[in-house]
């Protein structure tokens, strides 16, 4: 049998939709475990990235962070914290937040730093205060990249929350980890399929968001380039 037939069989089994640990339950849990770290990471990463991009100070650190963050094995980090802190909210929340910050920060920085210097010069020259320059000119022009950073982080968080099931976290990863432990490929495949669908939905969400949020002048400009 193929991956899809295993997954489809399991997902369409009605029993899996009821009771504790059911699909809807884990789905909602997974959304929560993904959304919260993402939100916190965004609240930290975007302002810091924008600040570094505007002032130029600390740019070297950003570059190093950009290169280094992918090297950190998420599984290892999760397990390390689990060994020391047992299983508490911090154990999964902290690494997810910390690992979600780099793509957000780096892209926010790149977005601001990449705004055409003559636009920044004009904004300053016409008498905008630094706050006005950042909020009215730089951030709107950096939005495409900021959204890319948020999207990358969102996908990353969804994936890592799946793995965090290994240290006891609920969510869709539960089906995968428990299924692997008990040699049942059904839930393993089903869980995997659901996670993939969730990830693609996140992608679509961001595509829609970008259409909504990015100023029309920038979108069309990208197309004519």
């Amino acid at each position: 049998m193929s991956f899809f037939s295993w997954a489809w069989d399991w997902v369409t089994t009605d029993a899996n939709w009821h009771g504790s640990g059911s699909i809807p339950q884990q789905l909602v849990a997974h959304l929560g475990y993904s959304a919260l770290p993402l939100l916190i990471a965004a609240l930290i990463g975007v302002p810091v990235g924008v600040l570094i991009g505007h002032t130029g100070r600390g740019a070297v650190t950003v570059v190093n962070v950009a290169n280094a963050w992918r090297a950190i094995p998420t599984l290892g980090l999760l397990i390390l914290l689990a060994v020391f802190l047992g299983f508490s909210p911090i154990t999964w929340l902290l690494p997810l937040v910390v690992l979600a910050i780099p793509p957000i920060l780096v892209n926010a920085y790149e977005g601001i730093a990449g705004v055409d210097p003559s636009i920044k010069d004009a904004a300053k020259g016409m008498g905008m205060t630094p706050w006005q320059q950042v909020t009215r000119v730089e951030v709107p022009n950096a939005l495409p990249l900021i959204l890319v950073g948020l999207r990358t982080a969102a996908i990353f968080v969804v994936a890592t929350a799946t793995i965090a099931a290994y240290i006891g976290l609920g969510g869709l990863g539960r089906f995968i980890i428990d299924g692997l432990a008990s040699d049942q490929y059904g839930p393993v495949a089903g869980g995997a399929l659901l996670v993939v669908i969730l990830a693609v939905l996140v992608l679509a969400l961001f595509a829609g968001l970008s259409r909504l949020v990015i100023p029309a002048g920038l979108r069309k400009q990208a197309k004519t380039e």
Binding site: S118, A122, M126, G127, G217
Partner: protein, 377 residues
Amino acid sequence: MITFQAVTKRYPDGTVAVDGLNLEVPEGKTMVLVGPSGCGKTTSLRMINRLVEPTEGAIFLDGTDIRDRNPAQLRRGIGYVIQQTGLFPHRTVEDNIGTVPVLNGWPRKKARDRARELLTLVGLDQELARRYPHQLSGGQQQRVGVARALAADPPVLLMDEPFSAVDPVVRASLQDQLLSLQAELRKTVVLVTHDIEEAIKVGDVVALFRPHGKLAQVAPPEELLAAPADDYVASFVGFDRGIRRLGFIAAEGLALGTGPVLPADATVAQAMASAEPWILVTQTGSGSPRGWVDTADLAVIPDGTPLGQLDTKGFGHAFTVGADSLRAALDAAVLSPAGQAIGVDGDGRVLGVATFDQLRAAIQAGEGWQARQKARP
């Protein structure tokens, strides 16, 4: 009025961009800062709105040291136009123009109305208001940049190589627009360019910089052409400055002769009787010029033939008496096969012709030329 007092800009690596600059920008006039690359003209301009801070010296705006003013507030009262326009790509044209008024607290509707007024002022169509900058041509974008700088009606306008990035035809049109705007608005304009022709065309006063931030000469463009302060200025201005200076002298004093002028219905016999080497044939009725006829060629043609039936040689262009300069007249004479310039009135009717001798007399009479020649060492 803007005053530079012993202003110097020295960078940490030792480069001196501006060296002890003393300059007064007259109110309500266009001052052009011109010079080679790296001469400090752009740096000087950007010190006026404090985008660059001087290392030494002070700059006064209407008597107040600009360092005593909050930079952002200072800049709201100064229009700023740059070469790459710096238009905000994320805003429509009208919202771009309305930026400073909105910053100053105007309601958006009022700012947009003002933006539309300004679109007309800079010669753009109203329907461009809701478009985005990238949808406009280079020349249109520059005009929007100027409109944006004028939106809050600042008394001072700074322009940094505003027309350098467009082609010569568009550039000429933008320069003309600036001249007509200034005639109407009378702002204090400081414009930076590397193009001496642009400086001469749009400037009321020209400040010519030497390399490394020192001034060579500050004078009205005509004086720069007539009396350059030294060899550097003379060579920067260009070796044909004598002829270009004629562009500032009106052609009105030029004596015109009507001897060679005959209408199309005059005959070959009349042409030969005039004893002129060349005859200018004009249209019967409108009096506009048709072309020149060499009388030496008339010998073989029957006496009774009307001049209108003959092939004429082209005349290049005519000059309009009362509107054109001596330079235009001289050019007309050079282009003419007869060596004579055709003077017409506002409707194109030929008033007369001027020979090289008559042009020479007018040139030497223009602006006390001889007196100035005697005064030079």
